[in-house]
């Protein structure tokens, strides 16, 4: 690959991002990848008006961080650990994997996550395109180690292999596109038998790790920037400049030297801040629910009789990457968020949620707005069963306050399950005084414990009933749960 000619992108998070012209021509400047410009990164835009960053910019950001990580990894790793192998030979595969890791993302990203692998199709396609060695490791990782990709990652790896394996091999003659699929899906070599496989495993973990990887680093920085919130600062340069490969317990593993200790904690805190205060915000949850409901109704309306999921099936399969797929009077080709909005506008009169989505005038309002209020309100109902009892019977319980049945039928309860992170033992390593130790040991913090049930729920009532909000809360509080 010729790296002399670079294309430079100006990115608000990382500054200038240089990409070799060869990668631009073969991967970035293609319709499937450019499609990512029109797929929003998160569902937090109803909350933060400027948060309309997309999967395209995120992919470039992950590429940039992967480049930085690789540079420091190569510089910091003791040469005697890599005897007989040239680590630079893996650079291109690692960078392509970082760039393409989200190439299969469907409209609205994770809202319909289950559809990526409906009927097992993404997994079957991936197996068909990868072969026996990959499948054996994939099965072993899942069945023995409880590790494996999320369904959109499985789909992205399959899309990469189906549409880009040819150009990849053409450009990088000695590299294997299946290694890229391994990096996207986190499919490590089980019982790595060679140094080459060990190095590959380390790079797989740097893109698809459970504690810290370049994908997580970019979305923490980018979602924080796009929303404008005052999240903790993550000094990504300090972190990545401390990266090296080391031997721990006989295995080659990626590790950070001690200068990165404080940043590692910032990464965990920054990620948890986003989950606690943004992704679980009542406005984000409400509009996500509206969108889910509207798209499911749309799918019923535009799909042929007897196949009510045809629209969703098309959007989450590679059929619409091959060419236009006709759905009633529309056709879907390289679908993105805007296409769905176009469909929704067309069926505005048939889908009650559409006007609400378009006008951003919610017809329902939350009885409480934070987890703290929820905990305060239900302080005497700590048992999960008590809380669930209230959530599933909320309409019935509120019948004494909201007596109008039409209004009461519109009441909804939405569960929130914050995806909080902690670093578990043997997930991350640091070097202290020439010794490699697990981060959990080095940080001095108590080992993460089982936090108990951390989910909660919001109750939304019709706006016109808002004057009875306090009464509603009181009857929910007073409900005898057992």
């Amino acid at each position: 690959m010729d790296t002399r000619h670079q294309k430079v992108f100006r990115d608000p998070v990382h500054g200038y991002i240089s990409v070799p012209r060869d990668l631009c021509d073969r991967f970035i400047d293609t319709a499937i990848f450019q499609r990512l410009r029109n797929i929003e990164q998160t569902s937090m835009r109803p909350l933060y008006p400027s948060a309309h960053h997309d999967r395209f910019a995120h992919s470039l950001g992950v590429y940039h961080l992967a480049n930085l990580a690789f540079h420091h990894l190569k510089k910091n790793t003791a040469p005697e650990l890599l005897t007989g192998l040239e680590i630079s030979d893996y650079r291109a595969s690692f960078l392509v994997a970082a760039l393409m890791h989200d190439c299969g993302h469907a409209p609205f990203s994770h809202t319909f996550e289950e559809f990526y692998n409906r009927g097992n199709r993404a997994e079957l396609l991936l197996r068909e395109l990868t072969g026996e060695a990959f499948s054996a490791d994939y099965d072993h990782n899942y069945e023995t180690e409880r590790k494996g990709p999320a369904e959109h990652e499985m789909f992205s790896a399959a899309v990469f292999l189906k549409y880009y394996a040819g150009v990849f091999t053409d450009l990088l003659k000695t590299s294997d596109p299946i290694l890229v699929a391994r990096m996207i899906t986190g499919c490590i070599h089980q019982g790595a038998k060679t140094l080459a496989e060990e190095i590959e495993n380390c790079l797989i973990l740097l893109l698809h790790g459970s504690a810290i990887d370049v994908d997580k680093l970019d979305y923490i920085l980018r979602d924080t920037w796009a929303s404008g919130v005052n999240n903790v600062s993550v000094d990504v340069h300090r972190l990545l400049s401390a990266l090296e490969l080391v031997r721990y317990d006989g295995h080659l593993v990626p590790a950070f030297n001690k200068s990165a200790l404080s940043v590692i904690q910032s990464v965990v805190d920054g990620r948890n801040y986003l989950f606690n205060w943004i992704y679980g915000h009542h406005t984000v949850c409400y509009y996500n629910e509206l969108l889910t409901s509207a798209v499911r109704k749309l799918s019923r309306l535009v799909s042929p009789a007897g196949k009510p999921d045809r629209l969703l099936d098309t959007l989450f399969s590679s059929d619409a990457f091959d060419g236009p797929v006709k759905i009633k009077t529309f056709s879907a080709y390289l679908p993105c968020d805007g296409d769905i909005y176009c469909f929704l506008k067309h069926y505005r009169k048939d889908i009650s949620e559409v006007d609400e989505i378009l006008s951003r005038q919610p017809r329902l309002v939350p009885l409480w707005k934070t987890q703290a209020e929820f905990e305060h309100i239900f302080a005497k109902k700590k048992e999960p069963a008590q809380r669930t009892h209230i959530r599933v019977r909320v309409k019935e319980i509120l019948s004494s306050v909201i007596t109008d049945t039409t209004a009461r039928d519109r009441v909804i309860a939405l569960s929130v399950k914050p995806k909080l992170a902690s670093i578990q033992e043997n997930e991350l390593y640091v070097t202290l005084r020439n010794t490699v130790v697990p981060f959990t040991e080095a940080s001095g913090a108590p080992a993460p414990t089982n936090q108990g049930n951390i989910s909660y729920f919001y109750v939304f009532i019709p706006r016109e009933c808002m004057d009875r909000a306090e009464e509603c809360i009181k009857v929910l509080q007073a409900e005898k749960t057992y």
Binding site: G119, R146, G148, P149, T388, H389, V392, N450
Partner: protein, 106 residues
């Protein structure tokens, strides 16, 4: 319209009449269900199973390569909680169909 069975609901249903289920069995059961009824959509990916166990530590726990009932989970399985928390949004016929598939699998 297809029915989406969330990972936590699937695990709760499975563990309502057994103590544990291995990841291998999870995959076999998923394949069996998909074959019996392609309109049932479920996510048994490792991250989703991991999150389900983390969200409900009083119900589920990992036991090697299995998801098992947590130590004091019996009281939840013996009460209305499982139905309320996990199955209230799953149509009864889908629940029955899943149970039939699970029983066939032994």
């Amino acid at each position: 319209m297809c029915d989406v069975v969330k990972t936590d609901a699937l695990l709760a249903l499975l563990l309502s009449n057994r103590q544990k289920v291995s990841f291998r069995e999870l995959r076999q059961l998923r394949d069996r269900v998909v074959e019996a009824n392609p309109d049932v959509v479920m996510d048994i990916s490792a991250p989703s199973v991991d999150m389900a166990v983390r969200y409900y530590p009083e119900i589920f726990m990992f036991q090697g390569a299995c998801v098992a009932r947590a130590n004091h989970a019996k009281r939840f399985f013996d009460s209305e909680y499982i139905r309320d928390e996990f199955l209230s949004t799953v149509p009864q016929e889908v629940t029955s169909e899943l149970m039939a598939c699970f029983q066939t699998a032994g």
